[in-house]
Assembly symmetry: C2
Homo-oligomer: 465 residues x 2
């Protein structure tokens, strides 16, 4: 009977002395005089299985020489070993090499630097760290769908290739089928985009929000979950050129409703992870980010704090006067930096905090103007350890106000007529937010470099694999 | 108490005479002398709610003039109406207009052509047809995740921007941050890609399979579900330039195992749809594709048929001799066309059929060469009504054979060293397949044009919204 290690973990008692077949990759092979041990990982769980083989096995010499990295198919009996950390092992009756691995296999059982492992991103997932990271990534992606689907949100695939610049800013990747050494020009010596594949200039989407709004105004509650692109030339721990985003959008929902969903979502995902990904979180707590589980459990215990941007700046000013050291103290109307996020979440509130009502100048064109005419109904969710995790807003549903704002920002209505239509035809109060999926995974695992939570990260000068 | 129509459908008996608040968009407003009827859709379900308002309401005149498309917030009492098709209605106590809609609102309650509706893709989702299509799309996407996650498959986000050409063919979109009117050249007068964002030539991925293989060789069972791109200049009912694909990949799995998962998956999705999307499927059966439900129920009843490519051609030859009319009769070794798929699935087998062991010349480089040296362990799954739904293969795990095949096809190893590594280090028998998500949705709904199952379709000369 074919079995995975995951299945063995739950059924080993019932399977005692039964013959099973388990396939996987050799992590170590320690041979002694008359017997040896293979540790095998099949990727079904973080844990390895121990396989024991003995001298009396006819192919003892072959087994002794099985190398790290080889793919093997083990037939063996389940032995219950109550005194071992893992409560069972396999006593091999036959081991077949399904795929050999030479001596120069890069993932040897020793400590490798993360930098080295990024260079072998096609193999690094065979280490404990990346096995854990990418299982968390998979299960949490599923939990996100589960959370929204359970509440009847409709999942929308917004377009990746677009002719919009969703944020009214942002550096974008061009998409073209032109041969770059044969660009066609028109009579005015401009690039003749009418000859390009889509007949116009196109780029990779920086957000799916605008299109999601269109669907929210029909389904009431929708969400996107897809890749997003920024051609920003910055090499930081938290920026990638290609990353995944979740963008829920809700009709008949104001900023308060928006925050409620954000808070419910994050608590749901943390609870789910603590329950369904316990071995992985324990691994991260032990080897990557001590205190991780305590940090995650803490946010479940109380409602998230709320403060306006104005009052947040005031707090920072007061703290600065009272001796808290900041490299920079922002003026009212300015953005807040990482050090202030840290102060708010880790010192002042000691937990997640919503910062609301931001100065309109530092936020996007589509955000709902508050009555003070200076701030917009925007919110950032800051969390201890990671800073900003989600950003959202109520959207400007007033056609005239939106047009005025676009004019102030010298934005053209051309190409966005359809977006303005959403304010003409049954437009209503609606809100949404965006959450960077990698930020979430970094928050849940404590892994500090975004390159280590993306299977094959894309960053400036790097599109390997 | 705020409520959705979906919630009302299950709770109306308990809520009789209770006051509720329901928000949505007006589909029709019929006023009579002393009372009137609003039909409201809130997107939570395909059905509308009927709202009754009466002359004695102080704002009767306002209510009478509410226009189609307006967003409204209705306060009213739940009235149980056992004789009506919908078993309940709301007796309005207050109706607030949350967003007005002018007379020229494009989605009036009459028949619109699908061509017209594509031009207003930002509003078409407010019609019954597209409400149903995109709810199916959302729920089936979720069911796909559910199917794979329940079996402990790991979901992998393979890169969208890549420097590989995964299929060894395929027309691709270039991705660049160059200003197209200032392309830099090197000393040899070639485009100087070293100055581009990623320092090399990059394009949008046509498949995630190669990267998925790398993850399968660590996790055993993985799947992708993401957007895929083809710059093919073809305007057909079934081609889009941007579409979503599901690509499962399994280690220690041969072609038989591959087919088993394909069949289990399709049956799971059909069962799920028949259960969870019943009103939508009934709508399609009635208005779009008569017989749809019978067609779907039929495939659950027996195992899928299996035939080799050679024998399929033989069948076609025999049928042709026996009077079945084909526009074209393929020779052994040639591909089969839509008319042959139709013959096999709708006439000969009367159900889904796996066609296996294809001539290597018409399949991709990575497919496992059979012992005959002429065919590869590839499979297409054909279904009645839609033809090819999935295509898969066992992958060539033999390093030397893969290199030989690449040489035969004049493929460079450069950039694919990592892919070849997967054959060096613990490579083993592994298989996978791809399913176009839109093809699946067309199959499940009977909608015949791919432009009508993509929220904002991208096709040659078309990247609106």
């Amino acid at each position: 009977m074919k079995i995975t290690n995951k299945e063995l973990q739950t059924k080993y008692v019932k399977l005692e002395n039964k013959q099973v077949v388990l396939s996987g990759w050799v992590r170590t092979n320690r041979d002694q005089k008359s017997f040896g041990f293979l540790t095998i990982n099949d990727g079904s769980t973080l844990d390895n299985v121990q396989v024991v083989y003995a001298e009396e096995d006819s192919d003892f010499e072959t087994l002794r020489h099985i190398r790290v990295g080889a793919a093997v198919v083990v037939e063996g009996n389940v032995v219950v070993t109550p005194l071992n950390a893992q409560k069972y092992e396999l006593r091999a009756t036959n081991v077949a090499i399904a795929g050999d691995s030479p001596e120069n296999y890069p993932i040897q059982p020793k400590r490798h630097t993360r930098e080295f492992l990024r260079e072998v991103a096609h193999l690094r997932v065979r280490t404990n760290l990346f096995n854990a990271v990418f299982r968390v990534r998979s299960k949490v992606a599923y939990a996100i769908h589960k959370f929204f689907q359970e509440q009847n949100f409709v999942y929308v695939h917004t377009p990746i290739i677009t002719s919009n610049d969703g944020e009214g800013a942002g550096q974008m990747f061009n998409v073209t089928t032109f041969d770059l050494d044969k660009i066609p020009y028109n009579d005015s010596k401009e690039v003749d985009y009418s000859k390009d594949f889509f007949g116009k200039r196109t780029n990779l989407a920086v957000t799916g929000q605008l299109e999601a709004e269109s669907y929210a105004l029909a389904f009431s509650n929708v969400y996107t979950f897809g890749p997003t692109f920024r051609a920003e030339n910055s090499n930081t721990l938290t920026h990638a050129s290609e990353f995944w985003m979740i963008e829920p959008e809700m009709a008949f929902c104001d900023l308060k409703g928006d925050m409620k969903i954000m808070e419910n979502m994050l608590k749901y995902l943390v609870k789910y992870s603590l329950k369904e990904l316990r071995p992985e979180l324990e691994f991260f707590d032990k080897f990557v980010s001590p205190g991780l589980i305590t940090k995650l459990e803490a946010i479940l215990k109380k409602p998230f704090a709320r403060i306006t941007h104005y009052n947040a700046i005031k707090l920072i000013h007061e703290a600065s006067k009272n001796g808290v050291k900041f490299e920079n103290v922002p003026a009212y109307g300015e953005d807040i930096g990482k050090e202030h996020e840290k102060f708010l979440t880790e010192k002042h509130f000691n937990g997640p905090v919503f910062v609301t009502n931001w100065p309109k100048e530092i936020k996007a064109f589509y955000m709902k103007l508050n009555k003070d005419n200076r701030t917009v109904a925007a919110v950032d969710l800051l969390v201890p350890g990671s800073g900003e995790l989600c950003g959202g807003s109520q959207r400007e549903e007033d056609y005239d106000k939106l047009v005025v704002r676009m004019k102030e920002l010298n934005m053209s209505e051309k190409g966005l007529e359809w977006y303005l239509d959403l304010r003409k035809y049954g437009g209503c109060v609606h809100s949404g937010f965006g959450m960077g999926f990698e930020r979430l995974i970094m928050y849940l695992t404590g892994v500090e470099n975004i390159r280590d939570v993306l299977p094959f990260p894309r960053t400036p000068k790097n599109a390997e694999f």
